[in-house]
């Protein structure tokens, strides 16, 4: 995936000083379902001129990197107490590999933070070298340049540097695609001052930090989805509208429909047509279309919505047109819902209970070649297509238990990754390796976010956020 450059800052990732190891011994291997994890030592930043301000930057960045790597389930951070070299020694004299082999370290990140006064203001230089301990080779060196003006102006920009640095380490050692520099849009659940439950639209970094609320809770929000560029969010919302009721009374009635919201300007458009309810939205990969489910009478059908004038990106100011994707035989009331595009935009996976139980189907994006892909007992819902194009994840309920599972896009190779009282709504990380989903504990009304590796390992709870549901993972930023 081509990563977008940050608009307001020049991002220097240059200076690859060392040669790449020809065959890295540090590939993560999976044998018999057991992942071998890389033991990595991330040195505290060596700072020739140390100040409390610099120390805070260095500590925060290092913490984020260590958390990212360990949370992926593919790394273990070597305890700092075990380090036999100081940060200064490693940075200035280089690693003494025998000392690192003693404490069973596979990889070592040597780090240095310096300050430079340039014509563009104060720049923080983060110089890192990633070492393979057993072969005594440098895997790469990078200098990341952070502008003081920029990090002061944009809160949490510094976190993005840590995520990018984490991705460089992760991808070099595991061979997997990057995923740390990404966001998740979700529904934040809590109670207002009148102890009424409320659901607000929220965005966070994929590590659960930097949570921002985009709505106040006046409207009830569920099932949000990012547009491919991350600028828009579509979600089902309940909002109160002023309507003339019986006897010409002015009353407030709640209506359900899709809200399309610009996540920066917060401008929004509510999509509702009399007699029809739109829900379960998703954007096509090229942003030309929004596909959604439409309830009309007793049937739920799949429709595509597009911007009539602009033809391209959906925006909140345009006129929207809609057309039904699949024809429906008369007098049927089966449900077609939760459509999701493949990453190349050519196919769609969706749920239909036309055979009596909820099952997964694929079709081409123009609504042809409908094919059932799920088999087995139980009900299959909420399918999502991996960004790698190779897998579909879903929720499966069977015998009173709920599972998050994956299958190949033709339905073969079904694997259940988790099982519990209640889990739902998987979403893939940008590299297709990690799945985030919602879970609810029995006898509580509260949901929270979980993540699990595609092997089914490393199932863990995200905290923060305390209570949340319906996550949707962005692309790599």
């Amino acid at each position: 995936m081509v990563k977008k450059t940050i608009q307001y800052i020049v991002f220097l990732v240059g200076m690859f000083m060392a040669s790449w190891a020809v065959s890295s011994p540090l590939k993560v291997t999976i044998t018999n379902g057991n992942i071998s994890r890389t033991d990595i030592a991330i040195m505290p930043f060596y700072m020739p001129q140390k100040t409390p301000h610099l120390d805070k930057i260095a500590t925060d960045i290092r913490d984020i990197i260590m958390n990212n790597l360990e949370n992926s389930g593919l790394f273990v951070n070597v305890d700092e107490m075990a380090f036999l070299q100081t940060p200064k020694d490693v940075a200035t004299k280089g690693p003494d590999f025998s000392k690192w082999m003693l404490v069973k370290t596979d990889a070592l990140l040597s780090t240095e933070l310096t300050v430079e006064n340039t014509s563009k203001g104060v720049q923080y230089k983060l110089l890192v070298t990633l070492w393979d301990v057993s072969s005594s080779k440098a895997l790469y060196s990078n200098t990341y340049s952070m502008s003081d003006v920029a990090i002061k102006r944009t809160p949490n920009l510094m976190r993005r540097y840590a995520h990018v640095m984490s991705d460089d380490i992760y991808t070099r050692i595991t061979g997997e695609g990057k995923y740390f520099d990404s966001e998740v849009v979700f529904v934040a659940e809590d109670y207002d001052e009148n102890r009424q439950k409320r659901k607000r639209l929220a965005i966070m970094d994929q590590d659960g930090a930097n949570i921002r609320y985009l709505t106040s809770g006046t409207d009830w929000v569920v099932t949000p989805r990012f547009s491919p560029d991350g600028n828009f969010i579509a979600y089902l919302s309940y909002r109160k509208q002023n309507i003339t009721g019986g006897n010409n009374r002015q009353i407030q009635r709640e209506v359900a429909g899709i809200t399309l919201r610009d996540r920066y300007s917060l401008k929004q458009k509510f999509i509702k047509t009399p007699g029809k309810t739109f829900y379960a939205p998703q954007f096509s990969p090229d942003s030309k279309y929004m596909i959604l489910s439409v309830l009309s009478g007793r049937s739920s059908d799949l429709w595509v919505v597009y911007n009539a004038k602009k033809g391209n990106a959906l925006d909140v100011s345009g006129q929207l047109r809609a057309k039904k994707l699949l024809s429906r035989p008369a007098n049927t009331d089966y449900v077609d819902t939760t459509p999701y595009y493949s990453p190349d935009g050519k196919n769609i996976v969706f749920v239909s209970d036309r055979t009596g139980t909820a099952q997964l189907y694929t079709m081409t994006a123009n609504g042809k070649n409908v094919r059932r892909i799920s088999g087995g007992g139980g009900q299959y819902t909420t399918p999502v297509w991996s960004p790698r194009g190779d897998k579909i994840a879903f929720t499966k309920s069977l015998n009173g238990r709920f599972h998050i599972g994956i299958m190949n896009t033709d339905g073969t190779g079904e694997q259940l990754l988790t099982g519990s009282y209640f889990s739902e709504g998987p979403t893939f990380s940008p590299n297709g390796r990690v799945i985030m989903f919602s879970r609810q504990t029995k006898d509580t009304d509260e949901m929270y976010l979980m993540s699990v590796d595609i092997t089914g390992k490393n199932e863990r709870r995200l905290s923060p956020p305390k209570n949340a549901s319906d996550p949707n993972w962005s692309k790599l930023r």
């Binding site: 009830w220 569920v222 099932t223 089902l236 309940y238 009721g245 019986g246 006897n247 010409n248 009374r249 009353i251 009635r253 709640e254 209506v255 359900a256 309810t277 829900y279 379960a280 489910s293 309830l295 009478g297 007793r298 739920s300 009331d333 449900v335 819902t337 939760t338 749920v351 909820a358 009900q379 819902t381 909420t382 929720t395 309920s397 009173g400 009282y421 209640f422 739902e424 709504g425 609810q440 029995k442 006898d443 509580t444 009304d445 549901s469 319906d470």
Partner: protein, 170 residues
């Protein structure tokens, strides 16, 4: 139960179907909702305010404003139809009301699928009420999926109370 009221309602029902037949109400002697009238079946404007109608409905129909459904189903049971008949009895005394049917699902399903299920339940109730109401009143439907449980907890006793259709007069 007040048997006198039931007899009254039945008598009024019979009168109504004789006078108005099918189609939209609001012609001839009756006032339509656009000109502000909730009418009773004798064709005059009632002195009741709609707030009174709403509270009367809740009082007289009471627990029968809610009907229940089997797991994953949206078919009306015989019990449900009995409750709905009571609703019809009351509602069909009037004309020009706006009746909202809410459809709900229990928590044992995913969000969007339960949203569709709630809709189908609400539609089943709406279709039944409308078929017996002869176009006197207007009906709206909203699905709340599993977003508005009335009882929290687990187990069939709890879940069965949440799988419901609720009729509200607005």
């Amino acid at each position: 139960m007040k048997s006198k009221n039931i007899l009254m309602a039945v008598a009024l029902g019979a009168l109504l179907s004789g006078c108005f037949g099918a189609g939209q109400g609001g012609q001839s002697e009756t006032q339509s909702s656009t000109t502000g009238g909730i009418v009773d079946t004798k064709g005059g404007t009632i002195s009741k305010t709609i707030e009174n109608v709403v509270s009367d409905f809740e009082e007289k129909v009471a627990t029968d404003i809610t009907v229940y459904f089997a797991y994953n189903k949206y078919i009306l049971s015989d019990e449900a139809k009995v409750a709905l008949d009571k609703q019809v009895e009351f509602i069909s005394q009037y004309e020009g009301l706006v009746v909202v049917v809410e459809g709900h699902a229990d928590e044992r399903g995913t969000r969007e699928y339960n949203f569709a299920l709630g809709q189908k339940r609400a539609e089943a109730v709406r279709a039944y009420l409308e078929s017996k109401d002869n176009g006197r009143n207007k009906y709206k439907v909203i699905s709340y999926g599993k977003e508005r449980p009335v009882v929290l907890g687990s187990g069939e006793t709890v879940w069965s109370k949440n799988r419901r259709g609720v009729t509200v007069i607005q």
